[in-house]
Symmetry: C2
Subunit: 703 residues, 2 copies
């Protein structure tokens, strides 16, 4: 591999346009050409068209894809205004997420020839080169700068450099060949015995600022802090040798070592050893990118998350202590503790990273980083952390689905990079995540700790109705209409005057905003909703302080929202609220003794509002307040016609819902304010809103 | 009938509260007691409980009903705040519209005894008397005055005085008895031969002002003018003698004399002569209210509208000229021509009206009014006019279903009053209407004319969706959002500059407002909608200048709206617009050559917007404008997913509807303005609105 160092992701803080153009041009060409050279390891034309794994396109797609990506993004930022080859650019646009088991249909594709694709790549190469040299450039290159798309295109190609190398490694041997530019490491030996290194307590502070020095993907920005309890980390990544003990202990056959999801994968895949291991003549071999070699026992084992986790569980039982994978936070702490630092741009990494050494892993005891080895590089390290957005997360406007589809608590973060992780991938700030069953050049380090992994849920609420309510409760104002839940809580509190403020009930709390708002005044507030999914939103906010959801903008296009209690000044109410699933028409006996009960937009959604209204006094202190708010939108799908309490002719006269409320409540309540209309707005799309008026009445329990 | 004159409806312009109290008290007691005395003609208790006709309650209901009506209305205006007898007041509240064939269920009723009801009436009598004497009174008594409810209650009871007398007349003879206070006329003779009186042309101006001198029902207020062509009117109401010729000519057996609706009634009822005629021993007799007498040939025949109309058709064929019933306008003209005037309050009517003479009809040649007889009184006179609201019609807030249910083009107006029509009923301004098959003390006068009857449709649009659009196009503004159709038309016109303004197309015109608005500028405007019902709204506005609809307020409660082109300054556009049903995706070839095409909120409701957009240039002049407005609310129920033109990811990138519009239209159009958002609001209920933003783009056809 007597090649010059593969160029590093450029510093964005340079203020010399001409120098920046040159750096970018080098970075682009270096990447573009190195990517193409990877395909020189394919043995024949057929290798481009035969799928390596069933859920991914064949390699011909990936050859075209990284070029097309430049065109698509440059169009979006208006650095160019027309396509080079619309047919290719449609065909090569959309890759396949490893999550999708059923949307690949070969019939849709009539791939062009390799030479056609290579010619297309030359057109793109020429166009981007010219752009970099001639297009107007204003520094710095930041998120808003159209040139961000150029770096994005390069970094995107570097990702595919690695993922394509994995696909090639998964190809049948007959389709690949050795190549001088892609030579693996030739050294192997006995594996070292793993030992623990004690890692002291500490804190980590993650997340980049928008003006950070290097390009980052959306998920790297924002803030996150964590305190780390002390733990012990394995000095080395787990080697093939160390993992063999698990295989030989029938680890792949014992469901007790595996998580439920992991065992399902094991059964589906029928795996009995790591995917790149091959047993020939009863001897283990190792599949590298272009060849099979006798097992390199001192190299890191490469497994998916499930296998790593099963190994840890087995080891825990062996050692009688909790062994697990580190979290992202723990990995960062370990990284800081190691003292490893990135080299200057022109220096070689003292790690098996960035193609600085060879085209494969190497022994786990080759690169020492402080007391540990392979803190970065060699192979990626699985973590316990499903990827999630840092506080202040935003999608980048020209690539809004880079990260967001992985915010599903099913994609775990891998850290440290592998021998082929280049550019952004090689930075400790990067946050790549894959489905837990997926294979990359990835292995693991384990830790011993008494603490369980701190998992932060990242799920985006995508159900349209639930998302609309999340936005209604915690989102933006529209048409100048103030937040409804806040307005109701404030109004309710204003009527409390000198009344005791011990316990309030928010009945039909939906996403729970009023529950939190009431907790500004009350010692304790209970939120109850019929929908367990609504209750979960409140619970999540109380526990994690954050709620994430997508909002429909137009058709199938969505935007990504994140709302935090802290930003609403509600962080100190978190410990005062509780949420329960419950039925307002049939409330459990424990829910009683309240000083205030709020029923916001509830009564016209109950199956029997009369049942609710005629017994609700039993839950309220004498002198306590009942706040009813409703647009009186009676619909038979919620409330059978015979259960409506108003909104019809009764004995020949118009009988309004307010008439009905008065008739039912008069036995126990006094109406202490004239009805007032409080507006609310629910956003359905960028262009469509429900704009309603809720009639609010305040009732005091008098007997 | 040596009784004092039955008190007249009071003058409302009196400014002496004490005198007014006295007048009202007299009017109330006189009515209340006379009504009760009518029931003295019932022969026994059973007569109260046995139904006289199947579609009405038994008379016991009507005895209670007029008392309960006072309580209900007094509660509504807060002159009282509690009920006297909730059970009675529920039972006696709702009468039965003669339209309802199926909602009477005897099982629901367990009627109280006559003495119980009479005792209840005494309670009401006492309460209302006290109110009139003691309740605060501010003059004048107008619509807003709570005392309006008192007069309403009295006038309501006077209506039931007449309708109950009809029910008694329809009762079996065994249930009724003669009574000194309710003696019929004893005089009868030969009927006079009918002749024609020439009525010259003229104009009528109908409709009361809100500050009119006498109480009126909602349908009497507003304005209506009409020019009346000369016609000839029969001097007398049609007598039993004159009608006999029709009966004997087998008029009831010849479908050709009958309207379709009339013939259906004839077949259903198997009628072969007027309903109050009885044939005994081959001799005709006449059923009066409490007895049967030998036929009074010179008295007016009493029939329903269908029978009257069939007679006219028969007579037309006999005479070889068009004979028909007068319209309401023609009746008013005839009334004015007659010179008849109401007498002073203390004087007897020179007409068989207001119980001033006896409790039955009398000879058609007894009361001369100018050249004519019985212009008012004796029996009601059917007209050709289905009742409809005058311009400026409003419902009275405490009785919103007095008239509105009859605005269905199926209730015809009767004029002139009968011998028992008292109070408001006796005034020529009153506008009572009944289903055409219904019987009252009603007959007819016919006219000879070459003009067809001018019928004004009164139908209220009650379909929720259609009504919402009517309000959206022609109704009030909400949240300060300007009328959308007007805003779009104005915007479109502003882009026309010096372009020819010959012909515009409003495609997807819905209720048609923009069609009219565009006609302010264009010589001619065509409105096209896929929905024939929408098109009908535009047609009706163009033809009649008015659109009526109900709006849902809360649950089943509705309000009644009337919108007029004239009030919107659009009256002079009526002759410039045309409406057609049509399919924007498959437009007939005749629709072409336009200078402007507006498609407002259309494209996201088409089954193939691409088909529409890719061919619409063919309908536009070169240089003409295409105005598109849409909230881009793509829904699969309107547009199959594969037909969406944007609002999805395409080749991996967000592809908005605007992107789609540009892609499709670029071959023939130039976008000549940046997209702008125009808001619109659609009211669903009093408390619920859709509030949307429509993105407007203006395109010039360039090739």
């Amino acid at each position: 591999m007597a090649q010059p160092l593969f160029s590093r992701t450029p510093l964005l803080t340079d203020n010399n346009p001409q120098a920046t153009r040159q750096v970018l041009l080098d970075y682009f060409l270096d990447t573009f050409d190195r990517y193409e050279s990877l395909f020189d390891t394919l043995a024949n034309e057929e290798a481009y068209y035969k799928k390596t794994i069933s859920l991914r396109h064949p390699l011909i797609f990936y050859l075209g894809h990284t070029a097309t990506f430049f065109i698509n993004k440059l169009l979006l930022v208006h650095l160019i205004d027309q396509r080079i080859n619309p047919r290719f650019e449609s065909m090569f646009a959309v890759g396949v997420d490893e999550m999708s088991w059923d949307d690949l249909n070969d019939a849709h594709y009539d791939w062009p020839s390799v030479s056609e694709v290579k010619a297309y790549r030359q057109q793109v190469r020429h166009l981007v080169s010219q752009l970099i040299q001639e297009s107007p450039l204003t520094l710095p290159i930041n998120w808003q700068n159209p040139w961000w798309a150029i770096i994005m295109g390069i970094e995107h190609e570097r990702i595919h450099l690695e993922t394509s190398s994995v696909l090639i490694r998964q190809h049948d041997l007959s389709y690949v060949k050795n190549h001088p530019a892609w030579q693996p490491c030739l050294q192997t030996s006995q594996a070292p015995s793993n030992t623990f290194v004690a890692i002291p307590a500490g804190t980590v502070s993650l997340g980049k600022a928008k003006d950070a020095a290097f390009y980052g993907w959306d998920n790297e920005y924002g803030q996150h802090q964590a305190d780390i309890a002390p733990f012990a980390a394995s000095r080395y990544l787990v080697s093939n040798q160390e993992f063999l003990a698990f295989v030989e202990a029938n680890g792949y056959q014992q469901s007790s070592y595996w998580s439920e999801e992991g065992w399902a994968w094991r059964n589906f895949s029928a795996a009995s050893h790591p995917t790149f291991w091959r047993k020939k003549d009863n001897t283990w071999h190792l599949r590298l990118m272009t060849q099979e070699v006798p097992m390199c026992w001192d190299w890191p084992v490469e497994v998916n998350y499930h296998e790593a986790k099963a190994f840890c569980e087995w080891l825990s039982q062996q050692q009688g202590q909790q062994i697990r994978l580190p979290t992202e936070d723990e990995w960062q702490h370990l990284y800081q503790y190691s003292g490893f630092a990135l080299p200057a741009a022109q220096q070689t990494h003292l790690a098996n990273l960035h193609l600085d050494h060879q085209a494969s892993a190497c022994a786990v005891n080759r690169f020492a980083h402080g007391e540990l080895f392979d803190v970065v590089g060699n192979v990626w390290q699985w973590t316990e952390t499903p990827t999630y957005p840092f506080d202040g997360f935003d999608v980048h406007p020209i690539y809004d689905d880079f990260t967001t589809p992985t915010f599903d608590d099913r994609h775990n973060i891998i850290k440290g990079g592998s021998w082929i992780s280049c550019g952004n991938e090689s930075l400790p700030e990067s946050r790549y995540a894959f489905r837990r069953h997926f294979f990359q050049h990835a292995g693991f380090r384990y830790i011993a700790t008494n603490n369980s992994a701190n998992i932060i849920s990242s799920r985006y609420e995508t159900d349209k109705f639930m998302s609309e309510y999340a936005e209604f409760h915690y989102g933006d104002s529209y048409f100048g209409v103030a937040n409804f839940s806040q307005a109701l809580a404030t109004l309710g509190i204003s009527y409390m005057t000198e009344r005791p403020a011990r316990h309030a009930l928010d009945l039909g709390c939906a996403s729970g905003r009023a529950t939190f708002e009431l907790a500004r005044h009350f010692q304790q507030v209970t939120g109850i909703d019929f929908s367990a999914r609504f209750v979960q939103q409140g619970v999540q906010l109380a526990e994690q302080g954050v709620l994430r959801y997508t909002l429909t903008e137009e058709g199938e296009l969505v935007s990504y929202k994140e709302r935090r209690l802290a930003d609403l000044g509600l962080d100190n109410t978190r410990h005062k609220v509780q949420f329960y699933q419950g039925d307002a028409c049939n409330l459990k006996t424990q829910f009683t003794g309240y000083d205030l009960i709020l029923a916001a937009n509830l009564i016209d959604r109950l199956y029997s509002p009369r049942k609710f209204l005629s017994s609700i006094h039993e839950r309220l202190q004498l002198g306590g307040l009942l706040i009813l708010a409703s647009p009186y939108t009676w619909l038979v799908e919620h409330t059978p016609r015979e259960e409506w309490i108003g909104g019809f002719k009764q004995d020949g006269e118009s009988f309004s819902t307010l008439d009905g409320l008065k008739a039912i409540l008069q036995n126990h309540f006094k109406l202490i304010s004239e009805p007032q209309e409080v507006p609310f707005v629910i956003k359905e799309t960028k262009h469509k809103f429900q704009h309603s008026l809720s009639e609010v009445t305040v009732w005091e329990r008098i007997k």
